[in-house]
Symmetry: C2
Subunit: 276 residues, 2 copies
């Protein structure tokens, strides 16, 4: 069962003039809720704040966080999806001077991912869709997601739990709804997202937590050759934690020891206490 | 006064789950209506049809056109904005198997552009925002328009009626809400839009009409140096027709004879009979 709130009211519709619809002029967050809490809230807040700055969205972050805390308590277990938009617009791209940011919250159950994804690892579909390079938008979880829609439409074979996305230069960026790490001689490397991609909350949390655990972690350009030569590969997001990658095209990997350690770390991050 | 229809009903809201909001998963058209007719309708239909094919949107184009014809008759003079989306979605980027395309029509008055824009020409603001290169989306009037929102936010000085957008390589692509032509030794050249940009309906109509009038017309890569060296420059869209460009940074142009001829051609195209 889904509950929906728009600007704090229990309504399920929004005006057609909303700039989120017209231009994708807004941001979203997908937040896992456990035992009424959002263990990764501080990372969601950080990304949302940065997104608002970069898109010049005058959102009341404190109000949003307060509402999310209330919704999470009511929900107990599941997912909160937050969308914020620049509100209603007149005709034209110019940001309205007195734009009223609109906030939309939807609840959902946690997606029912097969347990084997986490246990035995997944096969990545090799997407042909290439991500464009746009430093002004890279990293943000904004509402312009046609690239992901097209990429996700490339396969419907459930044998592939995720798809690999590269940029137009052929470098590795991310999964369609996950971030990616490779393990190289015990070091963790995740692709640089300054030109393309969504900087996931679990990626940020793992970068921090893995470094604290003594792992060498690095954000860098990752070529396709480097990915294929990696000792281990895994993907992550804030809903499922870590999935080992066991296959891409005809390359296969066993589930490696570093991946298992990071997977356990992710599990811990998803059940921590609320740290807003 | 604005009238709004959603799926043929006179309602002004849409469900929060619409994929147009969630992902910008849809297309739009902005259509000038004169004397109850839409002279450029055949070009709008063509772009919409191509957009639906490329985004795999199963829209009923005939139904949409029929509705637009009815709305145009009622409106008389003004602008129809059509948005189509992939309708309501479940969680996730995958296109729903039984997606019901949603159609939204809004009416508005014709924007009140200063008469001097067309008479004396305009100054272009030199936008720093660069358009990403994404051949899968280039040319389409899709709902992922954050680049235009950011570019349009770069200036608010009304001395600039439009902004110049280049791609990441620095080549000239278009205006923020217009297409661009340069005149070089009597020939018309408009930037190639296979990697970036929106292929405007007036651009398409002018390419056809100018060629029929005996002009040499060409779609090609246009460098910034080529733009600055051009004999004449003008921009166009389906609402205002043609505006001569008289300045960009410290380069100025007089309003040239070719621009005046194309401007007259555009005027004619905007008052033709309905050719759906």
């Amino acid at each position: 069962m889904t509950a929906i709130w728009v600007d704090g009211q229990a309504i399920a519709t929004l005006p057609v003039q909303d700039r989120g619809l017209a231009y994708g002029d807004g941001l979203f967050e997908t937040i896992r809720v456990q035992q009424g809490q959002m263990p990764l809230l501080s990372f969601h807040r950080q990304r949302l704040t940065e997104g608002c700055q970069r898109l010049r969205l005058a959102a009341d972050i404190e109000l949003i966080i307060t509402e999310l805390l209330g919704h999470a308590r009511l929900l107990g277990e599941g997912v909160l999806k937050l969308i914020i938009t620049r509100g209603d617009g007149l005709r034209g791209y110019a940001m309205p001077q007195a734009a009223m940011v609109r906030r939309i919250v939807q609840t959902a159950a946690l997606p029912a991912y097969p347990a084997q994804n986490a246990e035995q690892g997944i096969a990545l579909f090799d997407c042909q869709t290439r991500l464009a390079r746009q430093p002004l938008l890279a990293g943000l979880k904004h509402l312009n997601r046609l690239e992901q829609v097209l990429a996700r439409s490339e396969w419907d074979d459930p044998a592939y739990a995720e798809g690999l996305l590269c940029d137009e230069q052929g470098d590795v960026i991310e999964g369609v709804f996950s971030n990616l790490f490779i393990v190289q001689q015990g070091s963790l490397i995740t692709p640089d997202l300054s030109q393309s991609g969504v900087a996931g909350v679990m990626r940020a949390a793992l970068l921090q937590a893995a470094a604290q655990q003594g792992f060498a972690v690095q954000v860098a350009t990752v070529s396709r050759a480097q990915l294929l030569a990696a000792d281990e590969v895994f993907c992550c997001n804030s809903l499922y934690g870590v999935w080992p990658v066991r296959a891409l095209c005809d390359r296969t990997w066993p589930v490696g020891p570093v991946t298992r350690k990071i997977q356990a770390l992710a599990q811990g991050l998803m059940v921590g206490s609320c740290e807003a």
